[in-house]
Each structure stands twice: as C-alpha cells, then as structure tokens.
C-alpha cells in the first residue's frame, strides 16, 4: 500500500515537473527578450519608444505577478481573447520578470563609464559598433548575477499557475493531498524538488558567468 502511494506520488511529481520546467525555460526566454527590448527602449533616442518602455516597466513592476497571471486568464476573455492556462502562465511570468530585467539592463548599460563612449567617439565608431563591441561586452557580465536571481524568482513564481488549473508540481501535490489524505509527504517532496531546481539554476548561472568573464588583455 505504501509502495503504491510512493509510486503514485513519484509519477504525479514527474508529470508536474515537466510543466514547471517548461514554464521556467520558456518564461525565462521571454523575460530575457523583454528585458533587452524594453531595457534598451528606455534609453532609446526616440521619445515615443521611451514612453512605451517606461509604461510597460512601471505597469508590470507595479502590479503583482499573481494579479497579472489571473488577469490574463480571467479578464482577457472579456475582450474575446482566450488564452490557454499554459500560455497565460508564460506570458504573465515572462512579462513580469522581463520588466524587472529591463531595469537591470538599463542600469548595467548606464553604469558604463563616460570615458568608454569618449574613446569610441575618438576611434570613430558608429553607435552600433560602440554598443556591440564596447558597451555590451562590459555590461553583460554585470547583468548576469541579477538575471540569475530573476530566473530563480521566475521559477518560484511558476507555482502560481497551479491556481489557474495548470497541473504543475504544486497542483499535483494538491491533487495528491486530496486523493490520498496525505499532507506531509506531497508538500515536502514538492519543496525538495523546487529546491533542486533552484540549485540547478544557480549552477547554470555560475557556468554562464564563467563563460562570459572578460578575458584579461595584455597591454
């Protein structure tokens, strides 16, 4: 009997893990793209783009991710747009974390010293060249640790989608609790799985940081 329960839990968690990992990966990709698009948009030359970016960042940073996911799932149908729970999860999480990421991108780029721009000007670099070869290689390693934290935050926020009927790990744990009456086992296992995911993300970010570390240049 106990063996059956353990097997049952194992299968449920494995099913849920699939959804959680997919949401984390796809959400992170969307967040990464949003972070760069709107982070650069905030310091763009055209005023309209700046206004749009600021609006996006303030709205998504100002309201909670919980409200955003619920809004996408429950309120958008009123406008005739029906999103699947999975899609609303990805959109909600990605756009929310992307707004935080955009601020990181902006401050990392603005942290580049003025002398760097002046040297580029002296070397007659175009704006694109300045950004691509001078600013970005210096700014990117600065963003990485904070991006890692944001990714952990996104992974943790995926548990919210269990409340819009998407069967991630948390949802499976709840179902298991209702099905078997066991309380400690499902939630303890769920917490443990999330912790392993957390360690995995930390490891991933550390490897990327090591890869992008600027190589020392001989003068």
């Amino acid at each position: 009997m106990t063996e059956n329960i353990v097997l049952d839990l194992f299968c449920s968690v494995l099913h849920g893990l699939e959804i959680t990992v997919a949401l984390t990966v796809l959400g992170s990709v969307l967040a990464f793209i949003c972070a760069f698009v709107f982070g650069l948009g905030r310091i763009a030359r055209w005023r309209l783009i700046r206004i749009i970016s600021v609006f996006y960042i303030e709205v998504f940073r100002g309201t909670s991710v919980f409200v955003q996911v619920f809004w996408l799932y429950y309120a958008l149908p009123a406008f005739g747009i029906l999103l699947s729970p999975f899609l609303s999860g990805i959109l909600g999480l990605g756009l929310n974390v992307g707004a935080y990421g955009a601020e990181v991108v902006r401050s990392a780029i603005q942290a580049t010293g003025k002398d760097q721009y002046e040297s580029c000007c002296a070397l007659n670099f175009t704006r694109y060249q300045t950004f691509r070869y001078i600013v970005l290689p210096q700014a990117f390693p600065r963003m990485l640790p904070v991006f890692g934290n944001n990714m952990v935050e996104l992974m943790k926020a995926t548990s919210i989608v269990s409340l819009i009927s998407l069967s991630d790990i948390t949802f499976q744990a709840q179902q298991f609790r209702i099905r078997t009456g066991q309380t400690f086992l499902p939630f303890a296992v769920t917490l443990l799985v999330y912790f392993l995911l957390y360690l995995g993300i930390l490891f991933f970010v550390q490897s990327v940081t090591r890869l992008t570390k600027p190589k020392s240049v001989k003068v």
């Binding site: 619920f70 009123a78 935050e153 943790k156 548990s159 269990s162 948390t170 939630f187 912790f195 957390y198």
Partner: protein, 244 residues
C-alpha cells in the same frame, strides 16, 4: 462584453475591505521579517560548524522554494501538530519567515561592508561580544541598508495576493469571490491591479522619505565609500537579490 462601470461601483466596497487586510498583512509580516532577519543574520555570523551549516542551509532552502508551497505547507500541516492558527496568522508567519531569509542577506551585506578595523577596535577597547554588536556593529551596519530593505517592503506588498490561496480574504480573494458570484472577472481583477499600482506608489514614496530622513540625519556624504555604494544604482547591487 466590455468594461462596465456598474460592476466597478458594486465591487468597490469589497475591495476596500480587502485592501485593509492586504495592508495589515504587509505591515505585520514585514515587522516579523525585520526582527527574524536580524536574528538569522547574527546567527549566521556568530555560529560555527554544524549549527552554521544548519542555519544557512535552512535559509537557502526557504529562499529557494516558492512561497505558495510554503504557505500550503504551513496551512495544511500545522493542524496535524495540534497548532490551529487562523489563516491570516498562518499567512503572516509564512511571509515573515520567507522574507526574513531575504532580509538576513541584506543585514549580512551591511555587516560585511564594515571594515575589519571596527571589530579590532572594539576588541582592543575590551568590549564584550554583546557590546560590540549592540554599540559598534549594528548601528553602522543597519543604517546604510535601510533603502534596500525598503525595496523588499515594496516587493512584499506585491506578493500578498498569495494569501487568497489559503482562504484569507485580501483584495485578490475578494475580487475572485466577486468574480465567481457574478461571473465578471474583468473589472474586479483590473481594479485590483490598479489598487496595487497605487499601493506601490505610496510605498515607494514613503520609502523615499525614509531614505531622505536617513540621509539628512546622518549625512550621506559623510559615509565612508564602502557604505555609499548602497545608495548608487540599486538595481545592480548584488546583495539586493531577487527584486526591484
């Protein structure tokens, strides 16, 4: 089916009730987090060996797992241990402990930023361990990290809707209930979003005032350079993990 002001008027009183719960929950859990965070930070600093690993391990575990699952864990499991808390208290404990692990990191960064000289000086003045912490280390370590703690306060406000998942009737809970009864989700949830924006702005304003007060009373310019760093470009501060 589009926006209908009729429903806005209908849902408004409910949301105001929820708003009160949200604000109270935020204040109580932040107070708990501030106290507990300091305890965790000091424990991580003074303990050695297995106890140190136990404390940091627990802090990492709480930081690395979702708050929602922790809330479920507390809410469904505590009754088995013969502890029956109301859902609201349960939520405050969950939030308080989760944010305490964040804040302990903030405190620790403040403590680490102090030069070793401070420790050596208090040792040579023959201060006891308690005196060193109470009169030398903590007053200098906490002041520069207060703005960072303010950011966590703002982040905490935005996580309170999770309370609705353990049946606390905060703003989100009220909005969902209203939606379930009238089958209108657009207006309630949009209004909750707008109210959160407003709350966030108010909180950001008050954090700004606190920052200014600190700067005026203690002369931001007089900070040694290692402390000044916290005031510049907070987004890149590595100690300020995970949020705005």
């Amino acid at each position: 089916m589009t926006w209908d002001n009729h429903f806005v008027v209908m849902v408004f009183p409910y949301l105001m009730q929820g708003l009160l719960v949200t604000i109270l929950a935020t204040l109580f859990s932040f107070a708990l987090a501030v106290c507990l965070g300091l305890v965790i930070a000091i424990l991580e600093k003074v303990t050695r060996g297995p106890i140190y690993f136990l404390v940091t391990g627990c802090a990492h575990f709480i930081r690395g797992t979702p708050l929602l699952v922790q809330l479920f864990f507390l809410y469904y499991l505590l009754p088995y241990l013969n502890i029956t808390l109301p859902a609201f208290a349960c939520g405050i404990v969950g939030f308080g402990v989760h944010y305490a692990t964040y804040l302990s990191n903030v405190y620790k960064s403040g403590i680490d930023a102090l030069p070793v000289l401070q420790w050596e000086a208090s040792q040579s003045c023959n201060f006891s361990s308690f005196q060193t912490w109470r009169y030398i280390i903590l007053p200098q370590a906490i002041r520069p990290v207060v703005p960072v703690m303010g950011n966590y306060f703002i982040a905490l406000i935005k996580e309170t809707p999770l309370l609705s998942s353990i049946s606390v009737m905060d703003m989100m809970g009220e909005a969902n209930l209203f939606g379930d009864m009238h089958y209108r989700y657009l207006e309630p949830i949009t209004m909750v979003g707008v109210l959160f924006l407003t709350l966030g702005l108010v909180a950001r304003g008050s954090v700004g005032i606190v920052k200014k007060v600190i700067a005026v009373y203690h002369g931001k310019e007089n900070y040694p350079s290692h402390q000044r760093a916290f005031h510049e470009s907070p987004e890149l501060d590595p100690t300020e993990n995970l949020i705005s």
